[in-house]
């Protein structure tokens, strides 16, 4: 079988890129004579007749009503009968360069009819993304992948937030941590009565203001933190709570559960990591320096989102510190499984405000005002004492019992200046409490 002639699609005019096959007058493998009409093809400006230059047998490579590029092979004339096994070769369509890529891209995605761009695919492999997330897309670019990743980050943060809240609210506090006291009948009646107007929770609030002079005083008292009196507050509050256990408890159906330990919760919210309360555990047993260190640790952990569950769920009393804001007074919201919360406002005219919101079902206005009054006194005394240095061991003695600061093993002793007729000096808290 010898090839005599290959007839290609001719360029009739400058303006043609391809031609249309109008009619083919022969069938595959037919005998053809020299000069006989094989087909008619249409160019942009004329009709062209295709004729054979030889006698022979024709192989037809094109189809009627289809277009073929100028220069492509249309017919072949052989000298002898064409093998029956000869198959029609189909002309490739010009723009199919991405077909192979298509297959490659969708090899493992055959079940989803989603198309991924090359870059998207490599991102998926790199970041190990679950492609099922894209099952509702028809076309996915790297842009879509990046959007998904950034969305995820937000979701992650939100998830943690939700889990914390859940934990907190669902926490079952076991009996080793609390002591239960059933409400007296009269107290119950009082609660019901208050509920009528105030609904199921009965939160009230009392305020005192504390004079400290300038904010420089803070650094006289606190060695590490000078921007807020929070460490000192935690120190004083934790010790006072031992005297006022009602404020270290929570409402539990028809009883109040008083915590056995004092864990002061600090409220954190930097706008990014969400509102969280981290506990300084057993704050009543820590000295001021330790408390300062603990605050620093907790802050770092919060910022890095590394606060553990236990820290986040063990506060028995919470402090919200807005000392470094413009807030003059506010109504803090009592935390779950707490009965009280102390809000610290900003320094104005050498004073700052303390607002204490409390659950009236457990305590009452009288008790809270006493608590606040004592807290105010202790704070003002410390701030008004000139150059008083907790850590300076040499300076102070109790005039009554001659205790000095070195006797303070756990920071629970404080000294107060006393002026009366006979003595000018300091009395330690132990002696003072005796009064």
């Amino acid at each position: 079988m010898k090839l005599l002639q290959t007839i290609i699609a001719p360029q009739e005019s400058v303006n043609d890129d391809y031609l249309s096959v109008l009619k083919i007058y022969l069938n595959q493998g037919d005998k053809v004579e020299k000069d006989s009409l094989i087909a008619e093809i249409e160019a942009s400006k004329a009709l062209i007749e295709i004729r054979s230059d030889y006698d022979g047998y024709i192989e037809i490579l094109v189809e009627e009503d289809k277009d073929y590029a100028v220069g492509s092979e249309m017919f072949k004339i052989f000298d002898s009968k064409i093998d029956n096994e000869l198959k029609l070769t189909e002309k490739k369509i010009e723009n199919i360069n991405s077909e192979n890529d298509l297959l490659e891209n969708n090899l493992d995605l055959k079940n989803l009819s989603v198309n991924f761009s090359n870059r998207a695919l490599s991102l998926i492999k790199e970041k190990k993304i679950d492609i099922v997330k894209f099952q509702n897309y028809s076309y996915v670019t790297s842009n879509d992948i990046n959007n998904l990743l950034s969305d995820d980050l937000e979701l992650k943060t939100d998830k943690i937030q939700k889990s914390v809240v859940k934990e907190y609210s669902e926490k079952i506090i076991n009996n080793t941590e609390i002591e239960n006291f059933k409400f007296s009948k009269s107290k119950k009646t009082e609660n019901e009565y208050l509920k009528i107007v105030n609904s199921s929770s009965v939160i009230s609030r009392l305020s005192v203001d504390v004079k400290i002079g300038s904010s420089e005083k803070i650094s006289h008292v606190q060695k590490l933190i000078s921007s807020t009196p929070l460490p000192l507050l935690i120190f004083e509050v934790s010790r006072l709570l031992i005297k006022y256990p009602n404020l270290n408890s929570f409402h539990n159906n028809d009883s109040k559960s008083i915590y056995k330990s004092v864990n002061i919760g600090i409220a954190f919210d930097d706008g990014k990591n969400g509102l969280k309360v981290a506990a300084v555990k057993n704050a009543d047993k820590l000295n001021l320096n330790s408390i300062e260190n603990k605050i620093i640790d907790l802050t770092t952990s919060y910022v890095n989102n590394k606060l553990d569950k236990s820290t986040l769920t063990s506060s028995t009393f919470t402090i919200t510190d807005l000392f470094n804001s413009e807030v003059s007074t506010f109504h803090p919201l009592v935390n779950v499984n707490n009965s009280s919360i102390l809000g610290v406002s900003s320094l104005r005219n050498s004073h700052f405000n303390l607002d204490l919101s409390f659950d009236h079902r457990i305590t009452n206005g009288k008790e809270v005002s006493l608590f606040l009054g004592e807290l105010k006194n202790r704070l003002e005394n410390i701030f008004s004492s000139p150059n008083f240095d907790f850590l300076d061991k040499s300076k102070v003695n109790c005039t009554k019992c001659f205790r000095d600061i070195s006797d303070d093993n756990n920071g629970s002793i404080y000294f107060q200046k006393v002026i009366n007729n006979n003595t000018n000096g300091y009395l330690c808290s132990i002696c003072l409490n005796g009064w």
């Binding site: 942009s44 723009n95 761009s117």
Partner: protein, 638 residues
């Protein structure tokens, strides 16, 4: 020779009005300048004054006399020059741009000739026995359009009377300095009947001679060139008269009207007084009238209707076949004219768009000499006479030769004549390269025509059925520049869209096409293109997705000037790339206009534009391919 008294009064009136204009100008009450015809009034009265209102007059900058003689009105002219809204053209056109009844004047020398020829041709086709006059000056004989027209009117036997007022000066240049040969020989060379008169003295019977020429043109339906020797007594415009005092004095002595008045001072003196009083009184009354308000001047664009999108099914024919059948259809309308070079059968046009038309519609298919300016001018004239002309420039590059007609005539008529006329010509031409035709046969010049008043520039593309565009154009009443693409002519709209991509067409007056990926996927870039460049994108959507990580939607604009703002803006989302593609060269592109439009409305897109490199289009294929926009260059940009 006894002259009709009415005509004398007319001439006196013209002179007095012109003098009044000169006075008003000196008083600072005219905005602009005047070109008075003092000394040439007889020419106006003889020709424009002796035809009927069914005939037409085209005049030039020195048109006041012609206007008054033809319309027999003078008050609207004064109002026009004073800039009043009740003037001939609302004060918009003023001295040089007047239109009333069938009187047209334009300030472009030479350009009025082919327009006048077109108007006259229109009369011939209508067989209405109307004729026309076009006034030119000796100075006009410098412009090429004059000769293109003389050739045309002679060959086609068009009933146009060319009156050449020879006052021996082209502005300040004496005619001897620039004019070679003789004026008579010019007319004779084109085989046009030539006659000559002068306006100097009563013995010369210019009125009779003019009448005779008018008769000639009307009876024989053939052109005539009538040279009128005359003199301009005042400056070309105002204050630019450097002629010797003595010379002017001589001319004044020769002046017909001066002599006439001399002959009977008392009689004519009284007439002059009367007319002067009338004119002065009218001027006084008119000085305080209103000028046109800005709101009336600017036309508001119509309310934009909401755009709807529907799936568009592609036709299967070659574009050239469709275009040819479109024209066979359009020409059935007796108002349609097809005019161009080399369009007659059997050749049927360079790209065969007009094949078969001249056989079927011999009266209205007009083949011309190689004269693009003439083609455009004649089309303009035909349009003014109520026809719908389709004018072809064989190659887009040749459009340059017709630029004056496009920008100073087609574009101006509507507004400078205060919205009283329409010029609905479709100027169509193939632009584009990829055939190796070289630098002057491959350009895409549409960007140079952007911004002409009342013009729309529209580009065909191989996907949109041209019938849709031509249906719109058939109804359109303002001029259009229609860009076709050489290489698209031979093509069929082969389109293989990737899975789930759809092709939509809008329901705008001129529909646009848009290709969108499915709604469930996020578009990363929008490509905006038109004409022959659309193919570059549409053939490569998948490639751009897989290899360049871009999920694109494509806007194929049909109208590219003014841009379809709503269509473009409502389809661009923030934070996506926008790429414009066109075949024109880099500077001052249509793409720049598109980007500017989007940037004024969005703040968050990244813009890219792909156009031909800032160079000429070379002939050799490899260079040509690299200069023009291509998929490779597009891939590089992304």
């Amino acid at each position: 020779m006894a002259i009709n008294h009415r005509i004398i009064k007319e001439i006196i009136r013209i002179r007095i009005v012109e003098q009044a204009f000169l006075n008003l100008f000196s008083e600072g009450k005219l905005n602009g300048t005047v070109h008075t015809c003092i000394g040439q009034e007889l020419s106006a009265a003889s020709f424009a004054g002796q035809i009927s209102k069914r005939d037409f007059v085209f005049s030039n900058h020195r048109c006041h006399g012609h206007y008054i003689s033809y319309t027999k009105e003078w008050k609207p002219l004064i109002l026009e020059l004073l800039g009043k809204s009740s003037g001939v053209c609302g004060g918009v056109g003023s001295s040089q741009h007047l239109h009333k009844y069938n009187f047209f004047s334009n300030g472009i020398q030479g350009g009025i000739m082919p327009v006048a020829a077109g108007f006259a041709l229109g009369n011939k086709i209508k067989k209405n026995n109307n004729i026309g006059i076009v006034y030119i000056g000796d100075g006009t004989l410098g412009e090429g359009a004059v000769y293109e027209t003389l050739n045309f009117i002679s060959k086609k036997e068009i009933p146009l009377l060319v009156v050449c007022e020879n006052n021996s000066y082209a502005q300040s240049t004496p005619i001897d300095y620039t004019l070679s040969g003789s004026i008579k020989a010019r007319a004779k060379a084109f085989g046009i009947e030539f006659r000559e008169s002068n306006t100097f003295n009563l013995d010369n019977n210019i009125l009779g001679e003019a009448k005779s020429s008018i008769e000639y043109v009307r009876q024989n339906s053939k052109p005539l060139f009538h040279l009128v020797n005359t003199s301009r007594l005042k400056a070309h415009s105002k204050g630019d008269d450097d002629r010797d005092e003595k010379e002017i004095k001589e001319l004044e002595k020769k002046d017909f009207l001066n002599n006439l008045i001399e002959s009977d001072k008392e009689h004519f003196g009284a007439i002059i007084e009367k007319i002067k009083k009338e004119v002065d009184l009218f001027i006084d009354e008119s000085l305080d009238l209103n000028e046109m308000s800005f709101e009336n001047y600017l036309e508001e664009n119509g309310e934009q209707k909401k755009i709807d999108y529907s799936i568009y099914n592609l036709h299967k024919e070659r574009q050239i076949k469709l275009l040819n059948s479109v024209f066979h259809n359009l020409m059935k309308n007796n108002n349609s004219i097809f005019i161009g070079e080399d369009i007659l059968d059997p050749y049927g046009g360079a790209f065969k768009v007009s094949k078969g038309l001249s056989t079927k519609f011999p009266d209205r298919v007009i083949g011309t000499s190689i004269s693009e300016s003439l083609i455009a001018g004649v089309a303009n004239g035909l349009a003014l006479n109520g026809f719908k002309p389709y004018a072809e420039f064989m190659f887009g590059d040749f459009t340059a030769l017709a630029f004056d007609q496009l920008i100073n005539h087609s574009s101006k008529f509507y507004n400078m004549y205060n919205k009283k006329v329409n010029c609905p010509v479709v100027f169509r031409t193939p632009m584009g390269a990829r055939r190796g035709y070289g630098p002057t046969h491959s350009q895409s010049l549409e960007k140079h025509f952007v911004g002409m008043d009342k013009f729309e520039i529209i580009a065909l593309n191989k996907y949109l059925d041209p019938k849709i565009v031509y249906d719109y154009l058939e109804e359109r009443t303002h001029p259009t520049l229609l860009i076709e693409n050489k290489t698209d002519y031979a093509k069929k709209p082969n389109l293989n869209l990737p899975n789930k991509f759809k092709l939509y067409i809008t329901n705008e007056d001129i529909p646009n096409l848009i290709i969108k990926p499915p709604n469930d996927s996020k578009i990363t870039s929008t490509i905006i293109t038109y004409g022959g460049s659309s193919e570059i994108v549409l053939d490569n959507i998948e490639k751009l997705f897989y290899e360049k990580d871009q999920l694109i939607q494509v806007l194929i604009l049909t109208k590219i000037d003014p841009l379809p703002e709503s269509f473009i803006l409502e389809n661009i989302t923030e934070n996506t790339k926008v790429i414009t593609i066109e075949e024109g060269t880099e500077r001052g592109t249509i793409g720049n206009n598109i980007i500017s439009l989007i940037a004024k409305n969005n703040t968050n897109n990244h813009f890219y534009s792909l156009s031909s490199h800032d160079n000429i289009i070379p002939s050799v294929k490899s260079l040509e391919d690299n200069v023009l926009p291509s998929i490779n260059r597009l891939m590089k940009i992304l």
